[in-house]
């Protein structure tokens, strides 16, 4: 009956998977940020971060540099020629926008636009200073061709403002291209827009070889050329390629290992097929449920999920081992199942609890891994429970020689007794633990989550330096009831940042108020100009006297200047194409108010506390350090999960107590000791404790307790079947997680390594804690 229901479920499962595979053509997600925690408490913060990331996602910037400009141009031409054949993948972003056009909007508001330095000069410089500037501009043959006629900007204030805006980037137009230099080399800057999604693996496989081809073409044109590229797609492609490789290594490695193990143990193809069936249904079930829940699946989930193969086979193996045991030959398969069910239920529950540790973290990627693994186990388990009794009939499997080896090894395995040798062992163990723990440091660095190839990081750093680009991970969020309030608050923040620029803590900032000052600031600027420069006895009148013009001319010029004093609003600016590079800074209406981002250029790690301090105490200003935040989340959860692990031991104890009573400690102790020993070994190996070690200990609890349960279900010392099940289970776990520990993602590596060491430890310690048959008081058979 249940078997038929399960067949129906598996049928649905297959249809769903077939639909996903053939209909939806699903591909795993390679978004490198999927592992980062979501900021749930503050949607504005999350939105701001997304804005910063999204503005970069579809961009690719390539710098082609050589010793001189002509060579750089030649190399850039060669590079472009390759890409020009594929306008469907990459589109060159036209760098030569019309500079006069972006100025047109500001021209009509120029009396309101002042740099902070010009404002200070207006307050402090004498009249003669301004007269000199105006006259120099009048007579110089070179100063004429600037930003319009002399009388549009007689004191050069608007010119200074435009110059300040131009200096927000070191990139300059040159011969119809964009240029940047570092004193040593000259680079052609080529911005591209990706026409295909950066996180699509198909897109990555098309774009990456194309870029490599273009790079080679550039090298061929100019052998000593330097090509620096940066873009989200490069990271995504590197992460994707690495994860795909690991996925197949772990997947095929553990499958192969399990087939060999099954063959050696059971000498039957049927047993292999059965275990593969439970693993297969487990994996498909995991995939199906994950897709229903998340509507996507991350490639790293699959890498981690590949280690599931080792875990999912436990139940099938346990059943098969017991089927070949001599004392069960009288039972039919359903009776056997009934006898095994309590242990099977306990092992499933404890392991799922172990995986739930991952689900308790705020990292969406880890949650997905936890759900995937737990679902995989549940599906494999249900397959064993519903189908194996039907598929495995009495006497279809014979015990192999392995069972005898197991019996012998178990008999000779030392038992821990309360005597002199036992105390010595305990003493040495304590010394070992204390020493190992004392060497254990901690590490909560964001680099645990992703570890891109060094050349990509080098390129990114180089490009960031050359272009003086702002960092996407650290910035300020400014909030206010209206856009005017936001701009005013930005200006207050900038007043605090200006001294930091002078001290070279940062090289600059990007803010919308750089382009559109608050109405208050615009009014203050134009009043200051009016009072200082345009009054009846001011510099304008003095200039008139020097060039032989009269009071009428002064009045006409003043009126001409004042005609450009209407206030500029963010809305007006954001509508123009010129605002494109800055639009992501303006969050607009969010959360019942308005918000914006102030981004920083030329940031160094050491200056973070100073910058955090600069933002404190200002209304509506919030310092965001995504890197620091993630590190602190990692640290917080490392501590939090350590407690969860500890409490889980009590929970599992409670879960096991009704069945094992006074022997419960014997079931649990090997795992606890193995966990401690693992930590001590990690400490001695110079590893730093991180969240992922702790999460692995959580899973180790789930897996290790299984071994205790298996052995204590079969308390007889001669019963090798349980020991065989433990051995098979441990070997396949070692295989899966051992392969996971080869992962290049530090988090998965730490997880795999901990599981590898821990599982070996539990495996070897577990038989030491069997019941001591010389103490019959503890020997009690359970039904």
């Amino acid at each position: 009956m249940f078997a038929w229901v399960w067949a129906l479920v598996v049928g649905f499962l297959l249809v769903h998977i077939a639909y996903l595979w053939l209909g939806e053509r699903i591909a795993p997600d390679t978004d490198i940020l999927a592992l980062l925690p979501v900021q749930e408490r503050d949607p504005v913060l999350q939105q701001a971060f997304n804005r910063m990331v999204d503005s970069a996602q579809q961009r690719l910037i390539v710098l082609v540099g050589a010793d001189d400009w002509a060579q750089a141009n030649r190399a850039a031409d060669a590079y472009n020629r390759v890409l020009a054949h594929h306008p469907d993948l990459l589109q060159s972003t036209d760098p030569m926008t019309d500079h006069r056009d972006w100025l047109a909007l500001f021209q009509s508001h120029r009396l309101n636009l002042l740099t902070p330095q010009a404002e200070a000069d207006l307050r402090s410089q004498p009249k003669q200073y301004w007269v000199d500037i105006a006259l120099a501009k009048l007579y110089s043959p070179f100063a004429g061709v600037q930003l319009g006629a002399w009388r549009d900007d007689p004191f050069g204030l608007f010119g200074r403002w435009v110059q300040a805006r131009a200096q927000e980037t070191p990139v300059r137009p040159r011969d119809g291209r964009l240029f940047v230099g570092d004193g040593r080399r000259q680079y052609v800057v080529m911005p591209f827009t990706l026409r295909v999604p950066a996180f699509s693996m198909a897109a990555q496989q098309a774009v990456i070889p194309l870029l490599e081809q273009a790079r080679q073409a550039a090298h061929k044109a100019v052998p000593q050329v330097e090509v620096v590229a940066a873009g989200v797609i490069l990271y995504a492609a590197a992460a994707g390629a690495q994860a795909s490789l690991e996925l197949s290594t772990i997947g095929f490695g553990s499958l192969l290992g399990i087939i060999v193990l099954m063959w050696v143990t059971f000498h039957s193809l049927k047993s292999i097929a059965l275990v593969m069936l439970s693993i297969g249904i487990g994996c498909l079930g995991a995939l199906s449920v994950c897709w229903l829940l998340f509507e996507r699946i991350h490639l790293l989930t699959l890498v981690f999920g590949a280690s599931l193969i080792g875990g999912a086979q436990d139940y099938g193996t346990y059943f098969l081992c017991n089927r070949i045991a001599p004392d069960t030959s009288a039972l039919d398969s359903w009776q056997l199942l009934r006898r095994l069910l309590p242990a099977l239920v306990l092992t499933l529950v404890t392991t799922v609890i172990g995986y739930m540790g991952l689900a308790l973290t705020p990292f969406p990627g880890l949650r997905q891994m936890a759900i995937f693994s737990a679902m995989g186990l549940i599906f494999a388990w249900l397959t064993v429970v519903f189908w194996f009794p039907i598929l495995v009939l009495t006497g279809t499997l014979k015990s192999a020689r392995v069972v005898n080896w197991c019996a012998i090894s178990l008999e000779r395995w030392p038992l821990l007794r309360l005597q002199r040798s036992g105390l010595w062992v305990a003493g040495l163990f304590i010394v070992f633990i204390v020493f190992g723990f004392s060497r254990l440091g901690v590490q909560d660095d964001i680099r645990l989550l992703q570890n891109p190839p060094k050349n990509l990081i080098d390129d990114q750093i180089k490009l960031g330096k050359l272009l003086d680009a702002p960092t996407p991970a650290q910035f300020y969020i400014v909030r206010g009831a209206t856009s005017e309030v936001v701009l005013q608050r930005e200006e207050m923040l900038k007043e605090r940042l200006d001294p930091l620029i002078e001290k070279h803590v940062i090289s600059g900032y990007q803010a919308l108020s750089n382009w559109v000052p608050s109405s208050r600031a615009q009014a203050a600027g134009r009043n200051l100009i009016d009072q200082t420069l345009l009054n009846a006895n001011g510099p304008l009148a003095a200039v008139a006297a020097r060039i032989g013009e009269d009071a009428k001319w002064v009045a006409a010029t003043r009126a001409h200047l004042r005609a450009t004093s209407s206030s500029l609003t963010p809305g007006e600016f954001l509508k123009t194409p010129a605002s494109e590079p800055w639009r992501h800074l303006w969050l607009g209406e969010v959360d019942g108010g308005h918000g914006s981002i102030v981004a920083l250029r030329g940031l160094t790690h050491g200056s973070l506390p100073l910058l955090q301090h600069a933002g404190t105490g200002l209304d509506g200003v919030q310092w965001v350090d995504k890197v620091g935040e993630i590190s602190s989340v990692l640290g917080r959860y490392r501590k939090y999960m350590s407690w969860v692990v500890l409490l889980s031991y009590f929970a599992v104890y409670g879960l096991l107590y009704p069945r094992y009573r006074s022997r419960t400690w014997r079931v649990l102790a090997p795992t606890a000791l193995a966990s401690m020993a693992t930590l001590a070994l990690l400490g001695m190996a110079g590893q730093n404790l991180q969240l992922f070690h702790v999460l692995a200990l959580m899973l180790l609890l789930g897996v290790g307790v299984d071994y205790g349960i298996f052995l204590h279900e079969h308390p007889s010392r001669r019963d090798a079947i349980a020991w065989l099940a433990v051995g098979l289970s441990a070997l396949s776990t070692l295989l899966s997680f051992g392969l996971l520990s080869l992962s290049k993602t530090p988090a998965l590596q730490a997880f795999g390594l901990t599981m590898l060491i821990g599982t070996i430890m539990v495996w070897f310690i577990v038989p030491c804690f069997r019941n001591d048959p010389t103490h019959p008081s503890e020997y009690r058979t359970e039904p």
Binding site: D98, R100, Y139, G159, R172
Partner: protein, 200 residues
């Protein structure tokens, strides 16, 4: 951006000091001394001003070094253009300094200058349409910008001369107009005064 336009204008202004035509003939008519100094008289007619503004001063062009442009009347103002920077001096005060490291236009100007000295007019032709006429020993050239963004600043530049440039007129899109007349040309090492040499 301002500097870019300004830098361009310097190129255009200083360019005719050596040569100004793509035509090899004009090129061959020009003397190419190592040092060239002289007097300039400038008249500017600006939008919104009734009277033209007259000024005069001295200029020097030194091969491989750069240009010195000194306005002496009605008040002193000096612009020095060397390989790595453009400096504007108002009296002794540095009113403005443009570094080639920050503004590649500075290098471009020098590139154009040195290209001109070498007789390579490719750079000029890239930016301007050149229209030239020759009469006996004198020539006349009109330059009109190719690039729309330059055309919005400059409508045309006209120059004429013989062995040296004699006149230059810059007509800006805004209606402002600058005419410069060169005279008292001297060449050779002695052409430059001691204080001028000190300014380089």
């Amino acid at each position: 951006m301002k500097f870019w336009f300004m830098a361009c204008s310097i190129v255009f202004a200083s360019m005719p000091l050596w040569a100004a035509a793509p035509v090899a003939e004009i090129q061959s008519m020009l003397a190419k001394p190592k040092v060239l100094c002289g007097r300039f008289d400038q008249r500017k007619q600006l939008a919104g001003l009734k009277k033209p503004l007259a000024s005069n001063g001295r200029f020097c062009v030194v091969a491989d070094k750069g240009v010195l442009w000194r306005t002496l009347e009605p008040f002193p103002n000096t612009v020095r253009l060397t390989r790595d920077e453009i400096v504007q001096l108002q009296g002794d005060r540095v009113a403005m300094r443009l570094d080639a490291k920050q503004e590649p236009a500075v290098r471009m100007i020098n590139g154009v200058l040195f290209a001109l000295l070498a007789g390579d007019l490719g750079q000029i032709e890239k930016l301007f349409a050149v229209d030239s006429t020759i009469h006996d020993n004198s020539w006349r050239v009109t330059l009109k910008p190719h690039e729309p963004f330059l055309a919005k600043a400059i409508s045309s530049i006209a120059l004429d001369g013989g062995a040296y440039v004699k006149n230059i007129t810059i007509s800006e899109a805004s209606g402002d107009r600058t005419s410069i007349v060169f005279s008292e040309i001297q060449t050779g090492a002695a052409a430059m005064s001691v204080d001028e040499a000190a300014l380089f």
